[in-house]
Amino acid sequence: MNDNIHAIETTALVRRYGRTDAVNGLNLRVRPGRCYGFFGRNGAGKTTTIKCLLNLLRPTSGHARIFGLDPGTNEVAVKSRVSYVPDYVAFYPWMTVRQTLDYFASFRPRWNEQTEATLLERFQLDPRQKTSHLSKGQRTQLGLIAAICPDPELLILDEPTSGLDPIVRREFIQTVIGAYQEGDPGRRTVFVSTHLISEFEGLIDEFTIIDRGREVLTLDADAARDRYRKIYARFAAEPAGLALGGSRVLRRDGRELEIVVNGDAADVIDRLRAHAPETLEVEALSLEEIFVSTVQPTGAVA
């Protein structure tokens, strides 16, 4: 396999609905073997991007590539290597769980029956049950089993944990996704679009935040944690003439100050120390806090 080929690549991807730009010039590069987070607010263009990647929607302009292939012209080659779990999972109501899995398995060259049996047991799904009698969470579980069992090279998840109870959600994220990637490290890629960023915190290697169809931030997760710092300072009296550069003020309440620093935290800390704070605490931001800090409408920036 050519290491230079990205699992996902979009170049100046644009998708318009009428006069609305759902995706507006998006550039993405996802390397194989990574767990890639794709974050954005509601209506940011995440699902539209995923649908363009899967050839469910055609881009208005720009390109989307999966493993270097155009999903429009190499549809079978692309679809054979990809599994997708949408935010709303539906099955034919007349089929049982067993029949549904058999149905999907029949289209796949590979189907991991051991994984299937393990997951059915772990999710406590009855193979004889009709899919029309499954709850929303159970349908999602079945969708996940159907997506993971073909051992795809790329697993695309669009809000995969919506509807799952906390126990199954935790198990799914930590065990199932983790085990899936470890099954063939360096080759299996997970591309996950979610609002529950904190739950994927330990898995995400790299992420992109989009807002209004545009890329706002793309970073390696570890680099992001190094770069973004939250600083809490309490002073004896309200500091006068305190310049904080490009820091984002989360809270400023008389003697107390809470800010987020993007980049050179040391410089800001030095400035704060110059005002002799009673307390000065510095901590790394979680991915969720980075997301909030990036896309939240700018309020008070010092």
Binding site: F91, R98, Y103, S106, R108, S132
Partner: protein, 485 residues
């Protein structure tokens, strides 16, 4: 706040839910009357009867279609008020449609005598008002409710016929007819009263259960093997796709079963006593062929959207064109089988008193085949643009009439030009010559449908371009056809 202002949002929502079907029916009736052609008038009459019944089913079934039932029931509004508003809106919209159809006399072709035309309209209104809403709650599906509602008066009439034959003997047509209408009308009054009460009780106790309640179940002996199997079993993908496509057509099978039952009963009566003929079997076959072809096409793609399974299907690692070919192929095969072959087979199995002239049978069969192919293709195309089978069916009827108008107009223009240029009149084209041309037309419509089915994008621009291409291709083929003749 006044009562009207307080209820306005709910009223508006109910009107909006029915407007699509109501508008399509009014449009079809108006177009049919303006055209004045027999086929168009028959389509207009069918739009009235089916429309009135479907409005009733839609009024109480649309919350299942749009999956908004939990939201509706969770609102802090008395259910009795919702019920009354639903019925109020339904009554007004149905009456407007019924009165309009009655005034323009769209059914006059089918039923020349005034009183029978009026009876049909009021019968459909009663069915739509009382039976269809109740069945929509029972079936949790608009389409299933509409089909089963249509069956009720038909089954009553057949029951009346059978009872009359047993009581009076099959040679006393007048007595049988009297009893039949007695059973029909009295039976309708009883069923409507029961349905109204059951509908009221059903709505007051309605639970927010999603999904359909009326999926056809295969006999246990057939389904048990795979349904209860615990070990994985793989099958050939194409075979699975075919099975799935056939399963999507379950409502069509109900229509087919109803037609067979009606046909066999009527032909049996006709053989017993030729004077007992109250509805021409040829007309029944023609209407059935048109409706079932349109229905089969309409269900093909839209029902996948309704189930929410379309994206998963499109992502199966099998070429999209193969999936589409299976879909369109199964729809066309079923349409040919049920709309063209079945009526012919019934005519042979249970012949009427009229002798069958082979030449007429061949011409009739090719015409039916051509109509069936056209209808299923129109239904299929509209289906790729619709979110549910009902919406596709409702939109397909005016689309078929629109195409018919266009073909008439284009053919007249071509004829006019040809006469000017060549100074000749065209001879009548034999039915068989139409088929390759029709297949060529269907192929382009299939191609457009394929693009719609494959993409989640259904922009108005794309539809305009496709319709323009289809119409242009129609003109080209008409010219070719004129040249052939």
């Amino acid at each position: 706040m006044s009562t009207l202002a307080h209820n306005l949002p709910v009223v508006t929502k109910e009107v909006r839910a029915l407007l699509y079907i109501w508008g399509a029916c009014v449009l079809t009736v108006a177009a049919a009357v303006l055209l004045g052609e027999t086929i168009a008038l028959v389509a207009g009459a069918m739009a009235t009867y089916f429309g009135l019944i479907t409005l009733g089913a839609q009024s109480f079934g649309h919350d299942y279609t749009y999956r908004t039932l939990p939201l509706l029931l969770a609102q802090p509004v008395d259910r009795r008020r919702i019920f009354v508003i639903k019925y109020g809106v339904l009554v007004v919209m149905m009456l407007m449609l019924a009165l309009f159809a009655w005034q323009v006399r769209v059914g006059a072709t089918l039923f020349p005598r005034d009183w029978r035309e009026a009876q049909l309209i009021w019968l459909a209104t009663a069915c739509g008002l009382f039976i269809a809403p109740w069945l929509a709650l029972v079936c949790r599906s608009v389409l299933a409710a509409a089909v089963f509602t249509i069956a009720v008066p038909g089954l009553l009439a057949i029951a009346g016929d059978v009872a009359g034959g047993i009581l009076y003997g099959f040679d006393r047509a007048a007595d049988i007819d009297r009893l039949k209408y007695l059973v029909l009308w009295r039976g309708m009054i009883v069923i409507c009263a029961v349905a109204l009460i059951a509908g009221w009780r059903g709505f007051m106790r309605l639970e927010a259960i999603e999904g359909r309640g009326a999926d056809l179940q295969l006999p246990q002996q057939i389904s048990a093997g795979s349904a209860t199997a615990l070990v994985p079993r793989r099958r050939h993908p194409i075979r699975l796709l075919i099975g799935k496509e056939i399963r999507l057509q379950q409502i069509s099978f109900v229509v087919v079963a109803l037609f067979v039952a009606t046909w066999l009963t009527l032909s049996w009566f006709e053989r017993s006593d030729p004077t007992s003929r109250t509805f021409p079997l040829e007309m029944l076959s023609f209407l059935y062929s048109a409706v079932v072809s349109l229905l089969i096409g309409a269900l093909s793609s839209a029902e996948e959207r309704q189930y929410g399974t379309l994206d998963a299907q499109r992502l199966l690692p099998i070429p999209a064109w193969q999936q589409w070919l299976v879909k369109a192929g199964i729809a066309t095969a079923l349409a040919v089988l049920f709309a063209a072959i079945l009526p012919l087979a019934l005519a042979f199995v249970s012949p009427t008193n009229e002798p069958m002239v082979p030449a007429f049978v061949v011409i009739w069969w090719f015409q039916t085949l051509a109509m069936s192919l056209t209808m299923v293709t129109i239904g299929l195309y509209v289906s790729t643009l619709s979110s549910s089978g009902v919406r596709a069916l409702v939109a397909a009827l005016p689309a078929a009439i629109g195409l018919f108008v266009f073909v008439q107009f284009a053919a007249w223009l071509i004829w006019l030009v040809a006469v000017r240029v060549f100074g000749q009149r065209f001879v009548t084209t034999p039915s068989v010559t139409w088929l390759p041309v029709l297949v060529a037309w269907c192929s382009v419509v299939w191609w457009c449908g394929f693009h719609n089915h494959q993409s989640s994008d259904q922009s108005p621009r794309r539809i305009v371009v496709q319709v323009s291409v289809i119409l242009a291709w129609t003109v080209v083929l008409l010219v070719v056809l004129a040249g052939l003749s």
